[in-house]
């Protein structure tokens, strides 16, 4: 029996580690029998409790949650890699079980957006993403967002009325825009933008390497897809730099562009690589038409 190629996005609310570990162990055994590959990214205590209850073989992969959930784009990248390898290897489905460490900080909004984007990015992929929410510690706003961004809900939490995902999980806010230290208009060669980073050579070498790659990929995107030229602005902080690349092209319609994995032979690798190297990256529309990509590069 072939599993349907649908994406299921499950929010699993829990308040007791042992109970949820037993529940997850049952899920994993069922998925294993159905030929699925399972990815587990959970806090150490919970991962250990689950591993004690299941057969640990090459159908189940444990990844350290801190690593995978460093940033939304790295989380997406890890899940993409796992999924393409597992499906190529003959798995019928992928079951991804994970828990993000929501803590009430502004980063939570990026994670809510990540959960929302997943529905679109993985539409049609034979995957179940089971996202755990510890109701003892997760902020109340996150519970509401989890209801809005997941298609199925399990566990002892009252479902609020209708959840307006547009209101609860709006697009990520833009990065702060400051007075530019350096402005380059109408750049047609990525080398021009890279070499213009020289005045910032007091920054750490790693920051400069990443800045060079990001501005180069973004300018190249503007040259190829965005009308042929780019306007570049740099502004810096003591140990960080902002890069803004704007073009007059057709613009990027896709609201989830920054989290959509690239695929051969279509476009997308430059933006994806830039996002992975940036600390934060934001895509906005430029008026009257075009795209503005802003990247913030801080010490890794």
């Amino acid at each position: 029996m072939t599993a349907p190629a649908t994406f299921r996005h499950v929010a699993l609310f829990y308040d007791d580690t042992d109970t949820v570990a037993g529940q997850l162990a049952d899920t994993i055994e069922n998925d294993r029998c159905a030929g699925a590959a399972v990815l587990v990214c959970l806090p150490d205590v919970l991962a250990a409790a689950v591993s004690e209850r299941i057969r640990v073989d090459d159908r189940v992969t444990f990844l350290p949650a801190d690593n995978r959930y460093a940033r939304p784009v790295t989380a997406m990248h890890a899940l993409l890699n796992f999924t393409s390898a597992a499906l190529a290897d003959g798995a019928t489905r992928v079951q991804s079980i994970g828990e993000i460490a929501f803590d009430g900080s502004p980063a939570d909004d990026d994670w809510h957006w990540y959960e929302r984007a997943a529905n679109d990015v993985f539409a049609g992929v034979p995957m179940t993403a089971t996202c755990l929410y510890d109701t003892n510690s997760v902020p109340p706003g996150t519970i509401a967002c989890a209801h809005a961004t997941h298609t199925e809900h399990l566990g002892q939490v009252d479902t609020p009325g209708r959840c307006d995902v547009e209101r609860l999980v709006p697009r990520p806010i833009a990065l702060p825009r400051r007075r530019a230290d350096l402005t380059l208009d109408g750049v047609t060669r990525s080398g021009t933008a890279r070499h213009a980073l020289e005045p910032f050579d007091h920054l750490a070498p790693d920051i400069l390497d990443r800045a060079r790659l990001i501005v180069s990929e973004l300018v190249t995107n503007a040259v190829i897809h965005g009308g042929g030229k780019a306007d570049v602005r740099y502004w810096h902080e003591p140990n960080a730099i902002f890069i803004e690349v704007a073009d007059d092209g057709a613009g990027i319609d896709d609201p989830f562009a920054t989290l959509r994995p690239p695929a051969l032979p279509v476009r997308g690798f430059g933006l994806w690589a830039s996002h992975i190297e940036a600390t934060r990256l934001h895509v906005a529309a430029r008026r009257p038409h075009g795209t503005i990509v802003t990247a913030h590069v801080t010490a890794a």
Partner: protein, 253 residues
């Protein structure tokens, strides 16, 4: 001289054994001055010299650079061994290759020869060569295609070099959208001219973008080979992973 390090740009008078240099001229007097300076420098350094003019080179090569490059390389090596046996420091050869690269096909096969010669000159340490081409006749694109396969170009306006190095080959300079087609032809030359995987020293590579890495991967895949980038910066390794480049791996040492 075999340390793989990039050498500072030098004028036509000051090259050493192992150097393989490309120069593009735009007039006969310019060429004559360049050749004369190079040969005088070689003589002063105690090197035996030979100049193959544009109508002499095809006759001496006799098509062997295509049909049997090994025997032609062996001839070069013999000349160098003889020169050294007679007390010279090295054998310096100047070739005007213009007549050998006038069509795309002949240029592609001569480019393969340039790559093989580049590696032999460097490893032998007894040969130094200056290859000159008439830029008016072969055009700027062809001149650049041939130039990047040398260790140095005169004038030094080549955005990168793909030449003999501490590993199989060495890449220096910057690789981005502007150099994509040049890299495409240069790497096609290198992958078709050699057997097995291609190990590239990238310690002197100042920049590479994801499109350039994909070019390396495409050629490697087409030939069933792999490309290993040695002494790569961490960002190059991460970029290979992020951009899903097939057939290319990188090591930091």
């Amino acid at each position: 001289m075999l340390d793989g390090a990039i050498r500072p740009t030098r004028g036509a008078a000051e090259f050493a054994p192992g150097d393989h240099v490309c120069a593009v001229y735009r007039s006969a007097p310019e060429r004559d001055a360049m050749v004369e300076t190079y040969i005088r420098g070689a003589r002063v350094a105690g090197h035996r010299t030979m100049f193959l003019d544009r109508d002499e080179a095809p006759a001496l090569y006799g098509g062997r650079h295509v049909t049997d490059p090994r025997s032609l390389l062996a001839d070069f090596e013999r000349q160098a061994v003889m020169a050294v046996a007679e007390g010279y420091g090295a054998w310096a050869v100047v070739v005007d290759g213009t007549a050998l690269v006038l069509t795309p096909e002949s240029r592609a096969s001569f480019a393969r020869w340039e790559h093989l010669a580049d590696r032999m000159f460097r490893s032998s340490g007894k040969i130094r060569a200056l290859c000159v081409y008439d830029g008016r006749e072969i055009g700027a694109d062809a001149a650049a295609e041939l130039g990047v396969l040398h260790q140095q170009t005169l004038p030094d306006d080549t955005p990168f070099h793909l030449c003999a190095g501490a590993e199989d080959v060495r890449l220096d300079g910057e690789l981005d959208l502007a150099t994509l087609s040049l890299l495409d032809s240069a790497f096609a030359t290198v992958t078709s001219a050699r057997d097995g995987d291609v190990v590239v020293d990238v310690s002197q590579l100042d920049f590479v973008d994801h499109r350039s890495l994909h070019v390396l991967g495409r050629h490697a895949e087409a030939h069933g080979k792999r490309v290993v980038l040695r002494s790569a910066k961490p960002i190059v390794r991460r970029l290979i992973e992020a951009a899903g480049v097939p057939a290319v791996t990188a090591t930091t040492s």
